[in-house]
């Protein structure tokens, strides 16, 4: 066994942090595995929840925006598919940030008793949400089969947009998780932001509804780029992608992520004292 020397000093940024993170990758795996195992335990309909939520959201939006408000779809895609292509990343993002946000406080006993890089906890919650994402993707596939709507080669770009969605969830999640340890107000802020975000993001409607001159401003919401990217990839054909919104979203997400990880690491060492 190699002898490694550990030095602990006040205010010292851990030199081995990323190395430690790698060493604890199994913990990441086990935590995610634990959360997946217990996710739907003692629920009556179990995994069906993962199906029900996106489907109901899709139905409501299709009826309200597609039928009642008569908003246009993108290209020739059925309105339901257009909505579902957006529900997919939005549901992932919103659940991931709310769960990541409370992840540290719900694992308080671990944080105050054991050392490990704390970044593992919010990361594992976000990974767990990928499971629901996969289930939702299968529903989308079924839905497209039902409508007989074939995707184009652009579907291959979806993983890239998923990566963007994952990074966005991670960036926001890390910020909220760290802030929530000190200020429990975020318990109330996050559900509000999530609810609000559903309406200010183009989930129920296409970005084409937004007048041209406002689109860049509208894209300051980083989820706009992500959602539009998903639509562009999944719907193929006539769907247009407003690229500046994707780049803007990418830039914002990276900036949020870098500052988030910095803030997280700065406060991480006092988590055990204030949690």
């Amino acid at each position: 066994m190699r002898t490694d020397e550990l030095i602990i000093e006040a205010g010292m940024t851990e030199r081995h942090y990323w190395q430690d993170l790698w060493r604890f990758r199994e913990l990441l795996y086990f935590l995610a595995w634990r959360d997946i195992l217990v996710r739907y335990k003692q629920t009556v309909i179990g995994v069906a929840w993962a199906v029900l939520r996106p489907v109901l959201t899709m139905i409501v939006f299709t009826v309200v925006f597609g039928k009642l408000a008569n908003l246009p779809s993108e290209g020739n895609a059925p309105y339901a598919i257009m909505v579902f292509a957006a529900v997919l990343p939005w549901q992932f993002f919103s659940t991931a940030i709310s769960e990541a946000g409370s992840s540290l406080t719900s694992n308080a006993s671990m944080i105050s008793k054991v050392y490990f890089p704390r970044l593992i906890i919010p990361t594992s919650t976000i990974i767990v949400n990928l499971v629901d994402f996969v289930i939702s993707s299968l529903i989308l596939a079924a839905l497209m089969g039902w409508y007989g709507y074939a995707p184009s080669f652009r579907i291959l770009t979806v993983p890239l947009f998923l990566l963007l969605a994952f990074t966005a969830a991670m960036s926001a999640g890390v910020w909220i998780a760290a802030l929530n340890v000190r200020y429990r107000d975020f318990r109330y802020i996050v559900p509000f932001v999530v609810q609000f975000g559903l309406y200010v993001s183009p989930v129920g409607f296409s970005i084409n509804v937004i007048p041209e001159q406002w689109r860049l401003l509208y894209s300051l919401n980083p989820m706009v780029g992500v959602i539009e990217g998903f639509r562009w990839g999944i719907l193929g054909g006539g769907a247009q992608l407003y690229w500046p919104s994707v780049w803007l979203s990418f830039t914002l997400v990276v900036a949020l992520g870098v500052t988030g990880v910095m803030y997280f690491r700065k406060t991480e060492k006092s988590f055990a004292d204030v949690i």
């Binding site: 008793k113 054991v114 200020y183 429990r184 107000d185």
Partner: protein, 428 residues
């Protein structure tokens, strides 16, 4: 021997907020306090800030220095609040120090609690892997020790049962078993041996002793002097966040026992004497050692005293004053009244100040910490004085073998040695 742990001028400061009940800050409070202090300044611009006084600095550790050689088994002792757990938390990187520097050589594992991260919905098998990962074991390592862990915990039959259906004994055994199979070069343990029944405690202790024979370094925090004696070859005594002794176990224990410490709850002085409405009140109380000196710690083989000075403000037709000695699990171990052995029973008492002392014999209370409750009343009529948590003291075992089997605590509440008659017939 090379140095395994070197601690250099380590300090840790906490900010205590007196005002708040919540354990966490809320933005609401931050804003409200800001507004309050602003308003305060506007109204009384020259008064000292009231808000600031609610925040107090508390040094849990201050200027701690020591070093531990590889293979040493070091016991960390000290009274409640001396900084033992804080020290362990800093050493195991759970919280960071305010200042100072630590160097540790080798792979570190710390065990501050058994069963950290156990999930009640998961089965025993699943929890073993999860807990192993949390404690820093790789999956391969856990797999290779799996059978050993299960055998140690004696839960073979329930491996696939969710742990929420386990009895508390099984739960604790499983939790400790995982931790006991860690193989770090430096192991830090905080009072986790106080779990399970006596036979399991002995098993755990045996496991801890193995650690040291394999040349690993052990840091062990405990209140149980018997275990420290049995397990450690060195000891560090902490007092109010500072190292008082870092030497052999004997010298640290001796110092720990030293009289005339000023800290602790063994002395009580009433600062609000003469509440007009009270019929009686306690003026002073103290736990006294065998020579009559105030003492927070009593050796098991010494007599000691509890002194009580109280004031009676009205004449009462009859009265008895009593104490209850209560152990750390809230069991009243002993109660005694001043009318038990005096001629005051059923007699009236005049207003005035009473000085009373009760002698408690050696070899009576088991080692441990106790609190004293005081009361005075007319039986069946009225209780005129009652203080629940008046004094604290602890009884310490000095190698009498009365309180411990091996290293684990004997069960029972009384530490009196009894006479045994033994007849032996040799086997033919």
């Amino acid at each position: 021997m090379p140095v395994a742990i070197a601690v250099d001028n380590l300090s840790k400061k906490y900010i205590i907020c007196h005002q708040k009940r919540e354990r966490y800050t809320a933005l609401r409070d931050v804003l409200a306090n800001g507004a309050k202090s602003l308003a305060h300044k506007l109204i009384k611009p020259f008064a000292a800030s009231e808000i600031a006084s609610t925040h107090e600095e508390f040094w849990a550790l201050k200027g701690v220095n020591f070093s531990v050689e590889q293979g040493d088994r070091v016991g960390i002792i000290g009274r409640n609040g001396a900084g033992k757990s804080t020290l362990l938390k800093i050493l195991s990187r759970i919280t960071e120090p305010t200042s100072g520097r630590i160097r540790i050589r080798g792979r570190v594992s710390s065990l501050l609690e058994v069963g950290t991260g156990f999930h009640p919905e998961l089965t025993g098998r699943e929890n073993i892997f999860l807990n192993g990962a949390i404690l820093g074991m790789s999956k391969m390592e856990t797999k290779s020790k799996f059978d050993e862990i299960v055998a140690f915990a004696e839960v073979e039959k329930f491996l696939d049962t969710p742990v929420k259906r386990y009895s508390s004994g099984m739960y604790v055994r499983l939790a400790f078993a995982v931790a006991a199979h860690l193989e770090p070069e430096v192991l830090m343990v905080d009072e986790v041996l106080a779990v399970g029944d006596a036979s399991f405690q002995n098993k755990c202790l045996g496991k801890m002793q193995d650690v040291s024979t394999q040349g690993r370094t052990l840091l062990f925090v405990s209140h149980n002097m018997g275990v420290i004696n049995a397990l450690c070859n060195k000891a560090i005594l902490l007092q109010m966040g500072q190292v008082v002794v870092s030497d052999t176990v004997e010298s640290a224990l001796a110092r720990y026992m030293q009289r005339n410490t000023t800290e602790g709850g063994h002395q009580f002085v009433n600062n609000e004497v003469g509440k007009p409405d009270a019929k009686a009140n306690v003026l002073e109380a103290c736990v006294l050692g065998p020579q009559g000196e105030p003492s927070p710690s009593i050796l098991i083989d010494e007599n000691f005293f509890i002194r009580l000075v109280w004031q009676l403000n009205v004449r009462v037709p009859f009265l008895r004053v009593g104490i209850e000695i209560i152990d750390s699990t809230s069991v009243v171990v002993l109660s005694s009244m001043d009318t038990d052995t005096t001629d005051l029973y059923g007699k009236p008492r005049e207003p005035g100040v009473f000085h009373e002392t009760v002698k408690i014999s050696s070899f009576l209370l088991m080692p441990g910490s106790y609190v004293v409750k005081v009361f005075a009343g007319m039986p069946g009529l009225e209780r005129i004085m009652e203080v629940d948590h008046l004094l604290e003291f602890e009884v310490i075992d000095n190698h009498t073998h009365l309180s411990h089997v091996g290293g684990a605590r004997r069960s029972g509440y009384i530490a009196t040695p009894l006479q045994w008659g033994i007849q032996f017939e040799h086997a033919e």
